[in-house]
C-alpha cells in the first residue's frame, strides 16, 4: 500500500459499508501487532527488537528493515507486517518443498546479519530514505549474491524516489524491464501476464486496481555486470496485500492467486539463479 493515511479513511468507509469484518478478522487472527498502517509500525519495531530466529533452516522470508521518511509516525518497511509474511509462508510451505522458517524475519539493511539471508523482501519502497550505512549494506548484500524483491509502490513520484535510492545503492546499474519470457516467470508456475494486484480495499470493493498514476503494472529488474538478476521490482502492484488478505472472502481470488504464484516464482528463482 502506498498511502496509509488515505487507506485508513477508505478502511473506515469499508467499515461503514459493512465490510468491517475484514478488519475484525485481521485483528482476531493476528492480534494488535498484525494488520497494516500504524499497527505495522509498532509491531515491526517490536519484532525487530525481539527477533529470535532459530538457525539451520533452508529459507527465511526476510523483510528488509530500512529508514523511510515523510511520516514521523509511520515506518514504511513494516506495512502488512507480519501477517503478509506469515500468510505467504503458509502458502509457500504448502505448495513447494522449501524448508522455510514459518515466521517473519525482519532484518535491517545495515545489519551484517542480513548477509545470512540471501533473499530479502522490501515494500513501500517509494518512501525509502536510506541512511548511508543502509546504502552500503544493501549494495554489498546485492553484489555478494543477495536477491531483493521490492513491491507495493505506485506512480511516478514513488518510482522516482525508489529509482533515486537505487542509484545511491547501485550507481550505474540501470533498471531494465523483465520480459514475459524471463525464466523467473516459469521458475515454478508458468506466468503469462503481469497482473496489477490492488490493495485490499480496492480489491474487495471491486474498484480500480491502480493507485495514484500507476495505471500499468510492471515487472522490472536490476542485473549485475554478468547479467544476473539482483533486484526484482514489482511496480504499480501490491503483492503484499494479496498475501495478507488472501483468506478474505471479499478479496478476489485471482489477485491472491497471482500474488502467490509470482511470489513463489521469485523465491524459487532467487534460490537457484
Amino acid at each position: 500500500m502506498s498511502s496509509a493515511f488515505s487507506r485508513s479513511l477508505v478502511m473506515s468507509a469499508v467499515g461503514v459499508l459493512g465490510l468491517g469484518a475484514t478488519l475484525v478478522h485481521a485483528w482476531a487472527v493476528d492480534g494488535p501487532q498484525a494488520g497494516s498502517g500504524r499497527r505495522g509500525q509498532r509491531g515491526g519495531n517490536a519484532a525487530l527488537e525481539e527477533r529470535d530466529v532459530p538457525a539451520g533452516r533452508d529459507f527465511y522470508f526476510t523483510r528488509a528493515v530500512y529508514t523511510g521518511y515523510r511520516r514521523p509516525y509511520f515506518t514504511s518497511w513494516a506495512i502488512d507486517f507480519p501477517k503478509a509474511d506469515r500468510q505467504f509462508l503458509i502458502g509457500l510451505r504448502r505448495l513447494t518443498n522449501i524448508d522455510a522458517y514459518e515466521m517473519e524475519n525482519p532484518v535491517s539493511l545495515d545489519d551484517p546479519d542480513i548477509r545470512k539471508y540471501p533473499f530479502v523482501y522490501a515494500l513501500e519502497v517509494g518512501y525509502m530514505a536510506l541512511t548511508e550505512p543502509e546504502v552500503i549494506g544493501l549494495r554489498e548484500y546485492l553484489l555478494a549474491g543477495g536477491f531483493l524483491v521490492v513491491d507495493d509502490f505506485w506512480g511516478t513520484y514513488e518510482w522516482r524516489n525508489f529509482e533515486a535510492e537505487m542509484q545511491r545503492v547501485l550507481p550505474g546499474y540501470p533498471i531494465v524491464d523483465l520480459p514475459l519470457d524471463h525464466p523467473l516467470l516459469s521458475a515454478f508456475y508458468e506466468i503469462g501476464e503481469i497482473v496489477q494486484v490492488p490493495n485490499v480495499q480496492q480489491g474487495a470493493l471491486g474498484g480500480p486496481t491502480w493507485e495514484k498514476d500507476g495505471y500499468e503494472p510492471a515487472l522490472k529488474g536490476i542485473v549485475d555486470e554478468k547479467g544476473r538478476l539482483m533486484v526484482v521490482i514489482n511496480w504499480n502492484t501490491d503483492l503484499g496485500d494479496a498475501w495478507e488478505w488472501a483468506e478474505n472472502p471479499y478479496y478476489p481470488l485471482k489477485y491472491s492467486n497471482y500474488a502467490y504464484q509470482i511470489g513463489i516464482n521469485m523465491i524459487v528463482y532467487g534460490m537457484s539463479h
Binding site: D58, K116, A144, S272
Partner: protein, 765 residues
C-alpha cells in the same frame, strides 16, 4: 686393510683364498691311509707312554706335554700324507671370455677423484698391452661387447664413448651368453656401474647363466654414494588436466652433502616459470616428498619441468630436473547436480563455477513433489523425465552432485546405477549435507552407502533428526596439501585462510570416515566433543566419491566478513568440481606406457573400449593414427588382449624426436564408439643420471649367484688369475701342494716350542 689381510693370508697359506674356494682337498700319499693312521696311532701311543714315565710334577703336566707332542706328530703325519688342492683350471687359449663394457652415459660421471668411471675401462682394456687385458689375453680368447639399452659386439674398446641413454644389464648378459653359446665359455666380465634403469628382471637371466655354468665377474665402477648431490627422483603428475586447474605435484627429493639446506624448486611450463618455492632438503639417506603447486593455463600437450638449480660442488646436475608431459584440455565437463529441494547452495554453486570455462553444472531441482526445475540443460529433452532412469542418460555426465534428497526418492535401480556410475563408469560423486541427505535421508543399507566415504549413523538413532552444529572449518594434514583445499596462493596461506572463514552449519552428524577414506576438512565447535567431517574422499572402483556434509558453504560467499572481491568460494568449488571430473574416462580411452621415451624406443599403447553405457566391447575395430612431429601419419591396428575385456594393445616406435599424437578410434560393425588421443614425446632423456651411484649389492648378487666374483678397480688386479680357476669351458685339474705351506711349519714350531717352554717353566728340563 683388506689387501693387507689378503697378503698375510697368501704368505701363510701359500695361495690366495680363491684357490681354496675353487679347489678340492685331496691326499696324494703313496701309502694307504689305514697304514698312515696305524703308524700315527703307534707313534702317539709311544709318545704318551714315554711321557707317562717321564719326570712330572702332576698329572696335568703329563697330559699337556703328551697332547702337545701328539699334535706335533699328527701335523707331521698330515704332511707325510701329501695334502694337495685339486683345482679346475682353464687350458690357455682354449677358452673364450666375454667382456661386457657399459656404454651408457652414467659412465661419464667423474665420481672417483674427478676421473670418469669409463676411464678404468680405457686404461685396462683399450690397448692390447693394457695390464688387465694382457693378463686375460694370456689365458683366454677375449670377445668384447658394448651395452646400454641394447648390446653389440665391439672390436675396439677405445671406441666406447659412454653415450647410451639407458642401462639394461639383463639383456646385455642374455645377449652375450647367447652370442658365445657355441664356444667354450669360461665366463663373462661385466664392467659397469650397475646403475640399471630398465624394467627387465634379472632373475631369469641369472638362472640361465647358472644353468649354463657361466660365471659372471663384475667390476663395479664408481662410488656407492656421491659426496654432494641433489636428485629429484620422481615427479607424480596427472597425464591430463583441465585448463586452469590448480595442480599439486609430489616431487621426491634426495640429497647427499646438502643436509637440511634450503633450496629453490622451480616449475616451468614449456620454458616459462609458473611456480617457485623454497624447500628444505631431507637428512642423508632419506627421501623427502616436496609438494609444489601451480596452475595449468595453456592448452595442449605441455612439457612441465621441475628443477632445483645446481648447488655449489654438486657432482651430477642432470638429475636436478624432472620433466613431465601433461595434456591440458580445454573442454567443458558436464556435471549433474540433483537437489531435492530449493536451497541456496544450488544458486551459489552455479554462480561459483559459471566463469569456469571447463565446468558445466546441469541442475535438476525438485521444487515440489514431482515438480522439477531444470537449469543449464542442452535441450528440451534433457532431464525432462526427472532424474535419469537409464545408463545411457546418466553415464553421459562426468560427475554427479547429490543435494538434500532422500534415498527413497530413487528406485533401487537408480541407486544401483549411481553406484555403477562411480564404480564402473569411473565418474565422480559428491554428496552434500542436508535435512534429507546422508543418514537423515535413509541411505543406510542402500547401494550408495558403500560408495560414500563416510560412516552413516545408525538409521534408528533419533538424535540425528535434531542435530545442528555451526562449525569453523580446518584442513587436515592431508587437506593442507590436497589440490581441492588450496584456497590461497601458497599452501601456508591456505592453511591460515581456512580457520578465518565464517562458520558453516550442518544437520548431519558425521564424525567418522570409512577405512581407506581420507578426511580433507574438519569442523570444530565448542558444542561438539569430536570434530565434524566436513570434506572426505575415497576412491570407489574406477571412480571417486566425496562427501561434504554441510548445508551452507555459500556462507563463504555471502557472509559479511567476506570481502566482495574475495574469490575463496569460487576457488573452492571450482577446484572441488574439477577434482570430481578429473581422470573420468571416456568410453574409448588410450594410454601410452610412458609419456616420454628415447627415440626408437618402442612404446606400448593400450586402449580401453566401451560402449556408451560403459560396457566393455571385445570385437571392435580399433585403430591408432599416429602423427609424428613432421606431420607424417601412420596407422597401427590394436588387437584385443584376450586376457582383459575391452582392452586392446599395440606398440609403435617413434622414429623422430618430438611430440607424437596417438589418436585411437574404435568402431563396432560400422558403428562409431568413440575416439581419444594421447601424446608421447620422443627425446633424449637424462635417465642415466638418476640413481646413478654404483650398485655394489646388485653386482655382488650377479657374481655370487653365477659363481663369479665382485671386484672394484682396487681389487681387480687378481681378476685374470681368478677367472682361470673355473669349471666352465675347457679345463684341466691342477694339483697344488699344501704340505709346504708356511703355516704348517709355523704351527709345528709353535707346538714344539710350547712344549719346550712349558717344561722349562715347570722346571722339568
Amino acid at each position: 686393510m683388506a689387501s693387507f689381510l689378503q697378503s698375510v693370508f697368501e704368505f701363510l697359506f701359500k695361495y690366495r683364498p680363491v684357490v681354496f674356494e675353487k679347489g678340492r682337498l685331496a691326499l696324494a700319499t703313496p701309502w694307504p691311509l689305514s697304514f698312515l693312521l696305524l703308524a700315527g696311532a703307534v707313534i702317539a701311543l709311544l709318545a704318551i707312554l714315554a711321557y707317562s714315565r717321564a719326570k712330572a710334577k702332576s698329572r696335568n703336566d703329563r697330559f699337556i706335554l703328551a697332547g702337545l707332542r701328539v699334535a706335533a706328530l699328527a701335523l707331521l703325519l698330515f704332511c707325510l700324507a701329501r695334502p694337495m688342492l685339486l683345482i679346475p683350471t682353464v687350458i690357455p687359449q682354449r677358452n673364450f671370455l666375454g667382456v661386457l663394457v657399459d656404454d651408457s652415459r652414467s659412465m661419464q660421471i667423474a665420481d672417483r677423484d674427478g676421473v670418469p668411471r669409463g676411464d678404468f675401462v680405457q686404461r685396462n682394456f683399450a690397448g692390447p698391452d693394457s695390464a688387465l687385458r694382457a693378463a686375460l689375453a694370456e689365458r683366454f680368447m677375449l670377445r668384447f661387447f658394448r651395452f646400454s639399452a641394447g648390446t653389440e659386439r665391439l672390436d675396439e674398446v677405445s671406441s666406447v664413448g659412454a653415450t647410451g641413454g639407458a642401462t639394461d644389464l639383463a639383456q646385455a648378459l642374455d645377449a652375450a651368453r647367447r652370442e658365445l653359446a657355441a664356444v667354450p665359455l669360461a665366463g663373462l666380465i661385466l664392467l659397469t656401474d650397475g646403475a640399471d634403469n630398465s624394467e627387465s628382471s634379472l632373475t631369469e637371466t641369472l638362472l640361465a647363466l647358472k644353468a649354463n655354468g657361466v660365471p659372471v665377474y663384475t667390476i663395479g665402477l664408481g662410488r656407492e654414494e656421491f659426496d654432494r648431490d641433489i636428485e629429484i627422483s620422481r615427479a607424480e603428475t596427472p597425464r591430463s588436466v583441465l585448463q586452469g586447474s590448480s595442480l599439486v605435484v609430489d616431487l621426491v627429493v634426495e640429497q647427499s652433502g646438502y643436509r637440511r639446506q634450503t633450496v629453490q624448486v622451480n616449475v616451468e611450463d614449456d620454458g616459462r616459470i609458473v611456480s617457485s618455492q623454497e624447500v628444505r632438503l631431507p637428512d642423508e639417506g632419506e627421501a623427502a616428498t616436496v609438494r609444489v603447486q601451480f596452475t595449468a593455463t595453456e592448452v595442449g600437450p605441455r612439457l612441465f619441468r621441475f628443477s632445483i638449480p645446481p648447488q655449489p660442488g654438486e657432482l651430477v646436475t642432470q638429475n636436478n630436473v624432472q620433466e613431465a608431459l601433461i595434456v591440458v584440455e580445454d573442454r567443458r565437463e558436464k556435471i549433474l547436480y540433483f537437489e531435492g529441494e530449493p536451497r541456496f547452495e544450488l544458486k551459489f554453486i552455479r554462480r561459483a563455477v559459471e566463469d569456469d570455462e571447463n565446468l558445466r553444472v546441469v541442475a535438476l531441482q525438485r521444487t515440489a513433489e514431482n515438480k522439477f526445475l531444470r537449469l543449464g540443460v542442452d535441450d528440451a529433452e534433457e532431464l525432462a523425465a526427472g532424474f535419469p532412469k537409464t545408463r545411457e542418460e546418466l553415464f553421459g555426465y562426468r560427475a554427479i552432485i547429490l543435494g538434500s534428497v532422500e534415498a527413497s526418492f530413487f528406485t533401487h535401480d537408480q541407486l544401483r546405477m549411481i553406484e555403477e556410475f562411480v564404480g564402473q563408469r569411473g565418474g565422480g560423486l559428491l554428496v552434500l549435507g542436508g535435512r534429507r541427505a546422508l543418514g537423515r535421508g535413509g541411505y543406510q543399507g542402500t547401494p550408495l552407502a558403500d560408495v560414500i566415504p563416510i560412516v552413516l549413523p545408525p538409521d534408528d538413532d533419533a538424535s540425528v533428526e535434531a542435530f545442528f552444529a555451526e562449525v569453523t572449518v580446518e584442513p587436515t594434514r592431508f587437506g593442507l596439501t590436497h589440490p581441492v583445499t588450496q584456497i590461497a596462493a601458497t599452501m601456508d596461506e591456505s592453511a591460515e585462510r581456512w580457520p578465518e572463514l565464517p562458520p558453516v552449519s550442518s544437520v548431519n552428524p558425521i564424525f567418522e570416515v570409512k577405512p581407506g577414506a581420507s578426511t580433507l576438512l574438519t569442523g570444530n565447535s565448542a558444542d561438539l566433543d569430536d570434530p565434524l567431517v566436513v570434506l572426505a574422499y575415497q576412491r570407489y572402483g574406477r571412480g571417486k566419491a566425496l562427501a561434504l556434509p554441510i548445508q551452507d558453504a555459500w556462507m563463504w560467499q555471502m557472509h559479511a566478513d567476506i570481502p566482495l572481491d574475495d574469490m575463496t568460494h569460487e576457488t573452492f568449488w571450482q577446484q572441488l568440481l574439477r577434482f570430481l571430473v578429473s581422470y573420468v574416462p571416456d568410453p574409448v580411452a588410450v594410454t601410452a606406457a610412458s609419456d616420454r621415451v628415447d627415440p626408437n624406443e618402442p612404446v606400448a599403447i593400450t586402449a580401453e573400449v566401451q560402449d556408451e553405457t560403459f560396457l566393455r566391447v571385445n570385437n571392435a575395430e580399433v585403430t591408432a593414427q599416429i602423427t609424428s612431429p613432421s606431420g607424417a601419419v601412420s596407422e597401427v591396428t590394436l588387437d584385443w588382449a584376450v586376457d582383459a575385456d575391452g582392452e586392446y594393445r599395440a606398440a609403435f616406435v617413434p622414429e623422430e624426436e618430438g611430440l607424437h599424437e596417438i589418436r585411437v578410434g574404435a568402431a563396432k560393425t560400422g558403428e562409431f564408439l568413440g575416439e581419444h588421443a594421447t601424446f608421447v614425446e620422443a627425446a633424449d632423456l637424462p635417465t642415466e643420471y638418476f640413481d646413478a651411484e654404483m650398485r655394489a649389492p646388485l653386482l655382488r648378487q650377479i657374481a655370487e649367484e653365477t659363481g663369479g666374483r665382485f671386484y672394484t678397480p682396487e681389487t681387480a688386479a687378481t681378476l685374470a688369475e681368478d677367472v682361470s680357476f673355473t669349471e666352465s669351458g675347457t679345463t684341466v685339474i691342477e694339483e697344488r701342494d699344501l704340505w709346504d705351506m708356511p703355516i704348517i711349519f709355523l704351527l709345528l714350531l709353535l707346538l714344539l716350542g710350547t712344549e719346550w717352554g712349558y717344561r722349562r717353566a715347570r722346571g722339568l728340563v
